[in-house]
């Protein structure tokens, strides 16, 4: 089926998210929609999928104008979507998830699960998936969950398939497999829209490329175009994601982690006896595909994890077994991965958030009473220093943009006497201008002689910030390597394959004391 979008315009108030976008996707074609975060790709696809209604423009399937009141209509018309955040019910089985919304039933509305199972098996066989129809989705690895999403779309005989940033949660190997699936689907005649901001993937799989920026189509390209061409189209200017920093001046103070093990509530081992050392004055980036234990490492450092064994010594002081408050008092600064969940209280003002972890004594609390004047003065200084764009310190933090919110977190954490700084995904969901600022502050902290641990899933950021990179896979350390390690090697490491000789088994980390630099 041929998909055509004609002049799609979607406004949010005065902001135009999609500005007269035209797009044609032919059957048997993978059409890549390339654009930076925030370019309006997802908005466009939500319009296509009936989740938003367009203010102007038309959607045509095989030259017939469509009207979608909701996703149900879009699906009925033959559009299937593989969502970035999987739309699967975790406690349902694969078969139940696949049949949901178009259940086949026997008399009296009784579910015909057998048919759903058969469908799952049939589609799995077609693409060589190994998916058990009766497995609970929550028990499946992410990669398999994505296949369930694909099966779900295909089970409705979708002719147009939309993949929305499908590789964000996959390892490079899984990504390659997904590309294979997409090609196979294309060869069977599906029209495929592939939304991404990753150039490598686009060039690997796309037949045609449309680049959008600020809600507008800014150009079309062939997959033969160079990375530089695509990138400049996408960003509108040449971008260079390098951080200026001098060679590290290593000091004697250090964070020493030995045999750290973190166990989850259900007994699964999330961090598997890892050891590393970070000296004062260097940045160690923990890299890896999301969900391989990096978050848990940082949380264990701060005392946020319940079941932790092993040793974390900061300048000789043991941190394991201490409360969060004690660890904060020991001089650990922490930028959590999800600032809305863990870093800020959205309903509190900027001033209140800036002292959130400093309410245990002077200068902001005396004899149990908040020292409002001191606090406000402090807040005004930090807002100025960290360039938080706001109307005032009484503004609720929830009303700030992502970048400004992150600056508030950073301002709070960096304005204490630090002996260790831990930042998890410090630039996620942050605008370009703020990213630069945040990177600068991190490097400045390192140059003050503080050991810095940064978690990043973006290889570019990892390479730019790190003095050394530690790659994690399934809770284990694959290896600790210098920042100038080739990307291919890093990519393999992120899939669990240790660099060159290694001790044989993947992810063996015994003896890896992290002195690779």
């Amino acid at each position: 089926m041929r998909l055509e979008l004609r002049g799609i315009t979607k406004r949010f108030g005065a902001l135009v998210a999609n500005d007269h976008i035209d797009l044609v996707v032919n059957p048997g074609e993978i059409h890549s929609l390339l654009g930076e975060n925030g370019a309006g790709k997802s908005t466009l696809m939500n319009v296509l999928y009936g989740l938003y209604s367009a203010d102007e423009g038309q959607i045509l399937l095989d030259d017939e104008v469509q009207r979608f009141a909701g996703p149900g209509d879009a699906m009925a018309a033959g559009i299937g979507m593989v969502h970035q955040h999987f739309m699967l019910v975790p406690v349902f089985t694969v078969a139940e998830n696949v049949m949901l919304g178009h259940e086949s039933t026997r008399a009296g509305g009784v579910l015909d699960l057998e048919e759903a199972r058969a469908k799952v098996r049939e589609i799995s066989a077609r693409f060589g998936f190994h998916v058990d129809p009766d497995a609970l989705v929550e028990d499946l690895p992410v990669g398999v969950q994505q296949r369930v999403e694909i099966i779900k779309a295909l089970s409705r005989d979708a002719d147009v398939l939309v993949f929305d940033e499908p590789t964000a949660v996959l390892t490079p190997q899984e990504t390659d497999e997904l590309m294979g699936i997409m090609r196979q689907l294309r060869d069977e005649g599906a029209a495929i829209v592939f939304i991404t901001h990753k150039l490598r993937e686009v060039r690997a799989v796309a037949d045609r490329i449309t680049v959008i920026r600020h809600g507008k189509v800014v150009g079309e390209a062939r997959p033969t175009a160079s990375d530089a061409e695509l990138a400049s189209l996408m960003v509108g200017r040449a971008v260079e994601l390098t951080v200026h920093k001098d060679a590290p001046q290593l000091r004697d103070n250090a964070l020493e982690v030995t045999d750290l093990e973190v166990t989850g509530p259900d007994g699964q081992v999330l961090v598997d006896r890892i050891s590393f050392t970070v000296r004062g004055g260097e940045v160690l980036v923990i890299a890896g595909v999301q969900g391989n234990g990096q978050t848990e490492v940082t949380e264990a450092l701060l005392g946020l994890q319940e079941n932790v064994s092993g040793s974390v010594r900061l300048d000789g002081t043991e941190l394991v077994g201490r409360t969060v408050r004690q660890i904060l008092q020991a001089g650990v600064g922490f930028v959590p991965e999800d600032r809305n969940e863990d870093g800020l209280v959205g309903e509190f003002t900027i001033a209140e958030n800036l002292v959130l972890d400093r309410t245990d004594g002077p200068p902001f609390v005396r004899r149990g009473m908040l020292q409002l004047a001191t606090r406000d003065e402090f807040a005004r200084d930090r807002v100025a220093e960290f360039d938080v764009r706001t109307q005032g310190i009484e503004t609720r933090v929830g009303r700030l943009s992502g970048g400004n919110q992150q600056k508030v977190v950073l301002a709070r954490e960096l304005s204490r006497e630090l002996r260790l700084f831990v930042a998890a995904q410090p630039t996620r969901g942050v605008d370009v201008g703020s990213i630069e600022f945040i990177h600068k502050r991190i490097v400045a902290t390192r140059d003050e002689g503080v050991p810095v641990v940064v978690v990043s899933t973006e290889l570019d950021e990892a390479v730019a910030l790190a003095d050394r990179i530690m790659v994690m896979y399934r809770g284990r350390v694959v290896g600790i390597v210098p920042a100038d390690t080739p990307r291919d090697t890093l990519g393999l490491m992120m899939a669990g394959i240790a660099p060159e000789d290694g001790p044989g088994a993947p992810a063996g980390n015994d003896g890896d004391e992290g002195d690779a630099a």
């Binding site: 949010f12 925030g38 997802s42 969950q145 969900g291 870093g343 309410t359 149990g368 969901g429």
Partner: protein
């Protein structure tokens, strides 16, 4: 988490917990847009929208050129208009109840079409009489011989308000920390047991020491009883709504047992489940002289209002309470011990409710009490806290209003034969309407404001669940 992130409800800064979405009444198209943008996927867009919202929110309502309309919009976008509207609606509903059950109206209604005047006259008389009785029973009795007599209803209102305020504060404080304290009844009852037992059982201690002893015992008992719920919540994740409800029943049967057992709390020589009267030294003295029921407990409630205000707005403990209530995860990361805070909040909240129970036995009913000493105040306190927007000052106002309803309701029942339960109906309707501002605005055709007044967010308020760590 990717598998289950409700990302359409996720705007930067509001938290991404499902509870955040729980109060996501969206009225503004921009807000709506903002609510529908996934900042993960489109941070730039989300940011621009944020700024857009900020611009629109900027100090003033944008002028439309029509001064009167703008003035009207400004005046009616405040939350007090909704509160007023809710009260009016509830009173109208109450009037309907009075009308449909009034005999004179029912007698005149069959010939409505021949002589509609009779019906309207009867309606007017019924409603007018009822609300006039309500007012005179709650504020000032115009039929009284003297001012001292006339003002008596107002003192009764304040007497009724006394435990409502204290217990309302207990519920409100828990709300602010994200906890639902449905256990007011149980906390009042154990406080009554502790304070009452010492009040009649201990002899030879002079006033005020005996009274103070009772107060301390009552407050402590309420605190401990609520503390059980806090402890279970903190330790095992047991949902406090269920736990406090169960504790209500346990306290009730405990008191029933004490009251029915000679030698424990039952008055000697009596077969009734009732305690002996309080000793003189244990009683809260009258505040305005013997001719009024109002006692010093009212002053204690005022002190409690001030204390809770200070606690929430000026103390580091209250800061921790609010942080935990708004975003427990961030509070934990900031080094606040959430479990300890949960227990502490329930202790303080229970203490406040315990104060209400103590006021009942030492001030309002000093001649010996039975198992209904809580008089439904534990549940009324929930509506008081909701109406008061969980702020101490609001609770003070709501407590006095509901105290007035109670006093006036009794007078209305006596004078006009309208059952006092109508007060329950009116009170619950007020709270329902206040909780749904868009409904009130729609009924009165008021403009929907740019921003809804934000209720305090509640942590996992309605989810008796242990949340699972999302995977993926």
């Amino acid at each position: 988490m990717s598998g289950e992130t409700p990302d359409r409800d996720t705007t930067p800064g509001r938290d991404t917990t499902p509870e955040a979405a729980a109060e996501g009444v969206v009225e503004n198209p921009l807000d709506e847009a903002l609510g529908s943008v996934d900042p993960e996927a489109e941070p730039g867009l989300a940011e621009e929208l944020e700024q857009e919202v900020a611009r629109e929110q900027a100090p003033d309502v944008p002028d439309t050129g029509d001064r009167w309309r703008d003035a009207f919009r400004r005046a009616t976008s405040g939350s007090w208009v909704v509160a007023l509207g809710a009260i009016v609606l509830a009173i109208v509903a109450g009037s309907v109840l009075i009308i449909v059950t009034n005999e004179a109206v029912l007698a005149a209604a069959p010939y409505f079409f021949s002589r509609p005047g009779d019906t309207f006259a009867a309606i007017g008389e019924a409603v007018g009489g009822a609300y006039s009785a309500l007012f005179q029973g709650a504020v000032y009795n115009f039929g009284a011989d003297s001012f001292a007599q006339g003002i008596r209803p107002l003192t009764q209102t304040l007497t009724n308000a006394t435990p409502l305020i204290a217990a309302g504060l207990g519920v409100a404080l828990a709300f602010r920390a994200g906890l639902f304290n449905i256990g007011g009844q149980g906390q009042m009852l154990v406080a009554a047991i502790a304070a009452g037992w010492i009040g009649f059982g201990v002899t030879g201690v002079p006033w005020p020491w005996h009274m103070l002893l009772c107060l301390v015992a009552g407050v402590a008992a309420g605190a401990l009883w609520a503390g059980i719920a806090g402890l279970l919540k903190a330790r095992t994740g047991a949902h406090e709504v269920i736990v406090t409800i169960m504790l209500n029943y346990i306290a009730f049967y405990l008191l029933s047992y004490f009251l029915a057992t000679p030698g424990l709390m039952q008055a000697p020589g009596s077969a009734n489940p009732k305690t002996p009267p309080m000793q003189d030294g244990a009683v809260l003295p009258p505040l305005l002289g013997e001719q009024y029921n109002l006692h010093w407990g009212f002053v204690l409630s005022l002190v409690a209002v001030a204390y809770v205000w200070w606690l929430l707005n000026r103390s580091s403990t209250g800061f921790a309470f609010r942080a935990v209530g708004e975003n427990p995860k961030a509070a934990r990361v900031a080094g606040i011990d959430v479990s300890r805070t949960t227990v502490l909040v329930m202790l303080v909240a229970g203490g406040l409710v315990g104060l209400a129970g103590t006021q009942q036995v030492l001030g309002t009913v000093t001649t010996g009490f039975s198992a209904d000493i809580d008089a439904g105040i534990g549940f009324d306190a929930i509506t008081v806290a909701l109406l008061g927007g969980s702020s101490p000052i609001g609770v003070l106002g709501a407590g006095i209003l509901f105290g007035g309803f109670k006093a006036g309701g009794s007078a209305m029942q006596a004078a006009e034969g309208v059952p006092i339960e109508i007060v329950l109906v009116v009170q619950s309707l007020i709270v329902l309407f206040i909780a749904a501002p868009p409904l009130v605005r729609a009924i009165f055709r008021l403009p929907q404001p740019d921003r809804r007044p934000r209720a305090p967010r509640r942590r996992a308020a309605a989810t008796p669940a242990t949340t699972e760590e999302g995977q993926a």
